[in-house]
Every structure is written in C-alpha cells, then in structure tokens.
C-alpha cells in the first residue's frame, strides 16, 4: 500500500470511530434537553478528567504552544502553569457550588444560572453575546489548524482538512450532544497523548542519543537566547511573564470548562479532579509539548546538518509537524496528524456544544420562546451547532492569526470579562445585578479599546482589575440581593453540599 493510500485509510478509520461513537451516543441518550446539553449530569471522575483536560488541549497545544516556545524560549510555559492552577482552582472553589446550585434548580447553562442569581435578563443577554463573541472565532481556528496540518503532511489544499474536521465535529455534537463529546474525549485524549509522546521519544532516539541533555547543550552553544528570557526576539520581560501567568490563572472562567462542572455526577468529582489536573495534566501531559517546543524542536533547527532550518512567524506553528514529516516515516506522520485532529476536535466540539447552548437556552429560550418544549430546545441547539460552525470558520479564514496569540491575547482576555460576575455570584452574597452588568461592560469596553488602539498586553490585566473594582463598588452601593436569592444560592447549596450525596 502506498503512503498516500495508507494516510487516506487511516483518516477514514479514525473518522469512522468518531462517527460511530456519535451515533452510539445518540442511540443511548434519553432525548431530553438535560441529557443532550449536560450529559444527564452523569459524568464521573475519570470521564470528567479526560473531558476537561482534552477540552483545553487543542491544536494550540500541538502547534501554537510548541511554535511559540520554539521562537521565544521557555518563559511562555508560565501561561500553562497559570492555566493548570486556574483549572484546579475552578474545581476546588467554584465547581462544587456551581454543580450543586445547577443540580438543585435544573439550570442548563452557566449564563442561565447567573441570570437567575442576579435576577437580571439584560445580564443574560450581555453574557451570552460576550461569550459567543470570543468563543466562536476560537472554534474556527481548530479546523483551520487541522487544514494547515493536512497541507504540511499531504500537500493538499487547506480546505480539505477543514472540511474533514468540520464534518466529524458537527456530526459528533449534532447527534451525540455533551455525553458523546465527553466520551469521545477519552479516545481523542489517548490519541493526542500517544502521538505527542511517541514522536518525542522517537525523534530523541534518532537525533539525540545523549538525551535531552545533548539537545540542551546544542541550544546552549548555538542559540543560548532560547534558554532564557527575554528570548531571541526580546519578547519577554518580567511583566510579560507575570502577566502571562495571571492570564493563565483566569482559565477558571473559560466557558467550555465552566459548563463541565455542571455535568458532574457527584460531589466526589470535585474532591479528586484537582489532583488529576495538577499531576496528570500539569506535571505529566503539558511537559511533553514543553520539551518538544522549548528544547527538541529548536535544537533540531540549530544542530549541524539539520533538515528543518529555523522558521519564524505563523510558519513556526507547524514546526513539530514538519520535523515529524521530515525525520519519521510517513505513516507515523499521519498518526501525529491524527493526534492533532484529535486534540482539535476534543476542544472545538466542547466549545461548539457550549456555544450552541448559549444560543438555544440563553437567547432563544430565554427571550423569544420561554414555553419551549424539550424537543424544541434540542432542535434549536442542533441548528445553532450548524450556524456557529459556519460563522466560526468564516471568521478564522477571514482573519488568520497565530494560534498562540489568539488564545492568550484575544480569547482568554475575552472570557475573563465574566470572571468577577461568575465568581461573585457563587462566593459573594452581596454581589448585585447592577454591579455585574457595570463591571462586565466596563471591562469589555476597556478590552475592546485596547484591541482597537493596540494598547498592548497590559490592557488585559487593566480591564480585569477595573471590571472587578466596578463590580464590587457598584454592588456595595446598590440594594443587596433578596433573602430568597441568598437562600437559594448559598444556604441551600451549603446544606446540599454538606449532605452525603
């Protein structure tokens, strides 16, 4: 069998497995909106771990993260350390309460939960639009990344890869809903991890028999700037690195991760998940792309007689794929591409599902058709899936940007604008609707002004700090929430969490 035929057969089998899981998920689902949107609130510890870890490990982890480390040195890892702590914090502090209150009151979306907590429909609309604005372009980046991976591996037009991934993702979410998306993440997670790990070990064995120390030595001799800050292109200073860490900490507010807490089956999930996030996610999994991007790939480009010379800009996003395609057999490069597709689908599918819930539950159901049946709600969510994927791909193709930069400079700062409102709703009895609306709008306005006038990365921190201060100040100067709301969102939650459930 020729290498091309093998590639096609592998991709067909891979796609077939995902489609089969989607169909199976559809067959076993109970056809209720709770089942379709939140997996029937039945996700246990192990599935939750794979669901969440790989809903954040996207094409960015393979391409964007490694590409940025490759160009600018190891300091970028601080964003990941912040993210790991942020996710752990979500499951330690907010997760149990979000889970309990949504279970007690049958909330289907975190935006719905906040709207009820603050007794504000305008807030519901503001948050839904805000989150959709930042999540939709991010969804489109994933198929685009896969399209470029196809191009690098098979020399085929980008749209073939985009089409392949889009079909898989849409069928998965459309048919299987949140449950299939969560379960498929186990399969995708294994693919993702093995592709990463085996390629790392194999490349090291071929090119650096002396191990990582040998690769580091080459870097130290040929390009020492890649082992320190500010990096070869003077990208980093103390403030930039600290800022990246803080932006990473805000990962607790990523909407597709927050909604995951509402799918948990039991309280114990929150007791165990931080450990899995820190050990298996932070220390083990994220070390693999770090080694790839900060040591292995730059050492290969700097070693004598290299077949992959130094690349910069968006080209660097694909250095890992280029190295694998250059030095390893074609069949294995296909396997790595499948790992990238797995990573991309595992994230984009959860984001797609989350966005569709915001559209159907928070906008259509919340404002236009409050007496909708379960069947109608599921139908709208499915239509939203199609609409969102079309919009997201148009945005991603129309405005191409390096993967790493989109995540850290646009998506995360945008998601973070609902962080004070979210955390305050769950942890602070005194938080009010006026405070939440004022803080969110002020922070978002500052962020947009920063984007338009290119005021730099610091604007992200400024927007969040101002958002938080406005939220607190306005809340303190407006009437406190009613005793009923405080009872529903705090006292009942305490009682529920204290019971042995």
């Amino acid at each position: 069998m020729s290498a091309t035929a093998l590639t096609i057969v592998s991709l067909v089998i891979f796609g077939g497995i995902i489609l089969w899981m989607a169909v199976y998920g559809y067959m076993i689902s109970s056809k209720t909106s709770e089942d379709y949107m939140l997996a029937g609130r039945g996700i246990g510890i192990i599935v939750m771990f794979f669901f969440m870890l790989f809903s954040i490990s996207s094409a960015w982890t393979f391409y964007g993260y490694t590409g940025f480390l490759y160009q600018h040195g190891p300091s970028y890892v601080f964003f990941v350390w912040g993210c790991v702590a942020g996710f752990a914090a979500l499951y330690m502090f907010l997760g149990p309460r979000l889970w309990a209150v949504s279970r007690l009151n049958r909330f289907l979306s975190p935006v719905e939960l906040l709207s009820e907590r603050y007794q504000s429909k305008p807030l519901r609309l503001i948050l839904a639009i805000l989150l959709l604005s930042f999540i939709v372009p991010y969804i489109g980046i994933q198929p685009r990344g896969v399209g470029l991976g196809f191009k690098a591996l098979c020399n085929v037009p980008e749209y073939i890869g985009i089409g392949y991934m889009t079909v898989l993702m849409v069928v998965l979410v459309y048919m299987g809903g949140m449950r299939s998306t969560a379960w498929v993440n186990i399969f995708l997670g294994f693919m993702d991890t093995f592709a990463f790990l085996i390629s790392l070990i194999w490349i090291m064995k071929i090119l650096f028999p002396g191990g990582l120390a040998e690769a580091t030595r080459i870097l130290s001799e040929k390009s020492p700037a890649l082992l320190t800050a500010p990096g070869p292109q003077n990208y980093f200073n103390h403030a930039t690195i600290s800022g990246l860490f803080i932006v990473g900490l805000l990962a607790f507010s990523w909407p597709h991760v927050v909604i995951g807490t509402m799918t948990a089956r039991e309280k114990n999930v929150f007791k165990w998940l931080p450990m899995l996030a820190i050990v298996a996610g932070g220390v083990c999994f994220y070390t693999i792309p770090f080694i790839w991007g900060s040591i292995l790939a730059p050492a290969i480009s700097n070693m004598p007689g290299t077949r992959v010379p130094l690349v910069t800009g968006t080209e660097a996003d694909f250095v890992l794929q280029t190295i694998v395609t250059t030095y390893l057999p074609k069949w294995f490069a296909t396997f790595v591409l499948m790992g990238v597709i797995a990573a991309a689908i595992s994230t984009a599918a959860v984001q797609l599902m989350t966005s569709a819930i915001f559209v159907s539950r928070d906008i259509i159901h919340g404002f236009f058709k409050q007496d909708a049946t379960d069947k109608q709600l599921i139908g709208w969510t499915r239509i939203a899936v199609i609409g969102i994927i079309i919009c997201s791909i148009i945005v991603a193709v129309w405005n191409p940007i390096a993967l790493a930069l989109y995540l850290t400079h646009i998506a995360v700062p945008g998601f973070a604008q609902w962080a004070p409102c979210l955390a305050g709703a769950i942890l602070w009895r005194r938080g009010t609707a006026q405070g939440a609306i004022a803080g969110t709008l002020t922070g978002t306005a500052i962020l947009i002004i920063g984007f338009v006038f290119k005021l730099g990365n610091a604007i992200t921190l400024v927007s969040i700090i101002v958002n938080l201060l406005v939220y607190i100040m306005v809340s303190l100067f407006t009437p406190k929430p009613s005793p009923e709301i405080q009872g529903k969102f705090f006292d009942e939650v305490d009682e529920f969490l204290s019971s042995r459930n």
Binding site: F78, W81, K271, L497
Partner: protein, 81 residues
C-alpha cells in the same frame, strides 16, 4: 473540624476556618512567588542537564499546590464526606 460562628451556625466557607485560611495563604504565597521568580529568568540556569528555570519553578509551584490541596481537601474540607 468545622468551627461555629457567633450566631452558632456552621462555618463552611474556607476563609472562616483556620485550616481553610492556611490553605488559601499557601496558595496565595506560592502564586506571589510565581510572580516574583521571573526576575531570575534572564540568566542561563540549567538544572539536571536539561531543565530550565521557568519549567522547574512551575513544577515546584504545582507540587506546593498539590500538597496543600491534598491535606486540605482530604482532611479539612467541610464537604469532604
């Protein structure tokens, strides 16, 4: 291990019992440490032959969080049962 407030109600929030406050302090101090440590990233420091300082500091940070979380959540968290 749950303390009671002045009104006799149960104190379930982390900031209102000693173990919770210690836990939060540890997390906060380690986080502040992470904001301080980039100061040392501008000189080449390699540990164990291949480990750069940004990586090593992050691993140590996560280990601190891990130990603090294990102790608090498995022995003091009010909702642990």
């Amino acid at each position: 291990m749950i303390e009671t407030d002045n009104a006799g109600g149960k104190m379930r929030e982390m900031v209102r019992h000693t173990a919770g406050r210690i836990f939060l302090c540890i997390l906060l101090l380690s986080t502040l440490g992470m904001l301080y440590v980039p100061k040392y990233f501008f000189q080449e420091r390699i540990f164990f032959g291949c480990m750069t300082l940004p990586f090593l500091s992050g691993i140590l940070f996560l280990l601190v969080w891990l130990v603090a979380y294990l102790v608090y959540f498995f022995f003091f968290w009010p909702y642990r049962h």
